[in-house]
Amino acid sequence: MKKDLKQKIGVYICECGGNISDYVDVEKVAKAVENEPGVYLVQTTMFTCSDSAQIEIIEGIKENNLDSMVVASCSPKLHLLTFRDVAKRAGLNQYNYVHANIREQCSWAHSDRTEEATDKAVRLVRAAIAKVRLSESLETIEIEAKNVAAIVGAGVSGLRSAIDLADQGTQVYLIERDHFVGGRTAQWGKLFPTNEDGKELVERLYKQIKERENITVFTGADIQSLDGSVGDFKLGVKISPRHITGACDEETSDQLYKVCPQETDDEFNFGLTKRKAIYKNYKNAYPENPVVDMDLCDKCGECLKVTNSNINLEQEAENITLNVGAILLNTGFDPYEPKDGEFGYKTIDNVITLPQFRRLLDMSNGSLEYNGKSIRDIAYIYCVGSRQPDGENKHCSRYCCTSAIQSALNVKSKYSDVRNFHINRGIRTYGKQETCYVDSTKQGDVYLQFFEKSFPTLEKIGDKTIITLNDALTDNETMEVSADLVVLVTGMVPRKEDTVAGILKVPIGSDKFYNEIHTKLRPVETVIDGIFIAGACQSPKNIRATMASTLSATAKANSLISTGKIELEPIIATIDTNLCEWCGKCDELCSYNAFEKVEIDGKMVAQVNKAICKGCGACAPICEVNAINIIGSSDEEVEVMIDAFVKDVQFIEDHKAKEAEKTVGKTDDTEKLKKALPEIGKKILQSLESEAKSVPEIAADIQHPADDVLYYLMSLRKYGFVKETGEINDDEYYLYELKQ
């Protein structure tokens, strides 16, 4: 495939207000690249991202009829979109622009060796020029989107998400695997930090859901299959029946629980109690009707004899297909289950987990008992299943320090003679939760601490369990705590029974939770377009953090599908069908099923589905006949870049004629210079007009992150706009003022 090479390339080399030009001689770079094939014009600019520089670039491109552009400046992570937009405004196709990172990966990285940094910058810019020469105009892939979303999981995250998404005008299917909504939050009784009851929170959210016509709730619903792609997913869902076909009031329900002879451990109470085959998670669980657990039911028929029971044991599961534009995963977590014998779990009878203790406390009435024995001294062992030095779970589960301490507060307020012993590894009640810790020390709780080098040991003597540890707070003194009940403060782990990840191909992170594209920059999106994650399925979170991520995912999903159209990056795999022999290897390898087998000119070849391919490129090396290339990283593009890196750099020492060079935004006239400043630079100057300020003060005033402010302030200082006053303020920050 012979390409039309670009002939009129504009190259813009940024000084970044000294951040680049202090270490890289940008004029030398400009000179060294001006004779590269295809280059029509080279300019250096003070701040390429500033509005005025953008306008000059756009005018220059139009005036000279340029066909492509290279910007050499900071990392493309910061301004790729800015310059794509410049390209578009100049009438270029945005993919006829290539970026060279000469700041993070050159001037700053090699600020210790300026000459060599300049040499490297030349090579980087040349590589970008060589690449842009090969560039082709690409159209973003536009597809239609259904303004309908599937929310998987109806814990507090899914419930909240459904309400918000519905209010933004999106049709919602809320899909819950359990027969009752609310997820884990309903299990904990009083919640930190508000002491609100978990069940009440769930009730409030569920009632709001019922008020909205554009939300459909499915319970007992399990995802079976996924077809299609972003904007137009087809989700196959199996709905297991409740086996109760009409209303079933409380009295009738109680009657049913009584007559049903089949019994099992109640999962909702972590096996502390039993439930029947006809059951509800708890009395006010929603939806209101009980459910019949057909795995347990032996169809004895006792329940059918109860009047008005509306029971139908023959009701069949239903398979439905939901057509949705986006999918939000809110499937939550499992509490860590200790191994048998881990701190006496299942081997010592008065050792339980924190989730069990929360249930015990929630259900207890009048006296606190476990296994028929009354409890006074409680020992909490922290970080069980989290922060494991040898095990798989390296993470801190974040909720548990606070939850254990709040449990100690709750138990003491309910049973005042209880004594709490917190055997911890350093308390992490971050943020507002610290007040729980203060309250617990005030009520007389005892704190002991161990390190990962020596874990406490447990031994049952009589009715008591004796915990022995080397206490770090008293210089490793050996301490013994005698407890009636030991609570293992267990962390959060990904759901064991994960039926969706495989079907939806959700990326899993090293911690085994669902993985976002980027922790900081794109925290609720997955690489699969149209699939979002939020809540505890992504990482351990308390409810506050769950809600924050939930609302973020909700907004992202709505903005993706609400206009009915979605634009996708055309960075995908291409197949040279002349070479392809359909061996099927790429199809086998692709995690997203992007390949199809099609017939072209009488032979079978691979074809890439544009809406599905993510452009990761994993398939490219596998093809034995080298038929696969990724747009933007094709063999040709990579190879010309390598050639540019190794090509000799010779500096032409005639930059005495510097004055004559055309430079954007460079002038001695301060007023003109001021105009060339980026928006933030102008705002900083404005903010300093009234009085001298410190960096945090300026940041607060102009509402920009302090690190950005600091960085532009340094440039402003360098160009003589501001100076330090030499004084510091009360918070010990330097003050800056305008230089007259």
């Binding site: 490297k120 594209i517 980027h518 995690s591 994993a618 490219a620 090396p621 080298n626």
Partner: protein, 141 residues
């Protein structure tokens, strides 16, 4: 120790290892200025022929900054790259190129220090191997 300054080609991934290299620069952690980076969506896309092309043209060492298990596309991307490297090394052996000239390590998005250390160690070991052109048989200019 030789004072030969080897040229290193790095393949980094757009979302994970490239940000780590950026971070190294942001923190002004220095490494050899003869390190040149090409960013790809995921390093599992790096082909044998690119690596061989680099050696042929005079790059002394190729480093693949893989995402390891952090990869947003697929958690086995390093395994895929390992296979590509193995195949490449077979060809390198045939051509008399020292197989230690290609290297891979996982970098997370904030792995600035590990990146700089890798560059330092790799530069040193490549320096002791000397100019690639002695192995590929091209003239030494």
């Amino acid at each position: 120790m030789s004072d030969y300054q080897p040229k290193i080609l790095v393949f980094s991934s757009d979302k994970i290892s490239d940000p780590a290299i950026d971070l190294a620069g942001l923190l002004k952690k220095h490494y050899s200025p003869k390190v040149y980076n090409i960013t790809v969506p995921c390093t599992s896309s790096v082909k044998s022929r690119w690596i061989l092309h680099a050696f042929e043209k005079g790059i002394d060492g190729v480093f693949i900054g893989s995402d390891g298990t952090d990869c947003p596309y697929r958690s086995d991307c390093s395994d895929l790259s390992s296979k590509v490297i193995e195949q490449t090394q077979e060809v390198m052996k045939e051509r008399g190129i020292n197989i230690a000239r290609v290297k891979m390590a996982a970098l997370c998005s904030v792995c600035a220090d590990p990146f700089v250390n890798h560059m330092k160690n790799f530069s040193e070991s490549l320096a002791s191997l000397g100019n690639i052109k002695n192995e590929t048989g091209q003239s030494n200019e």
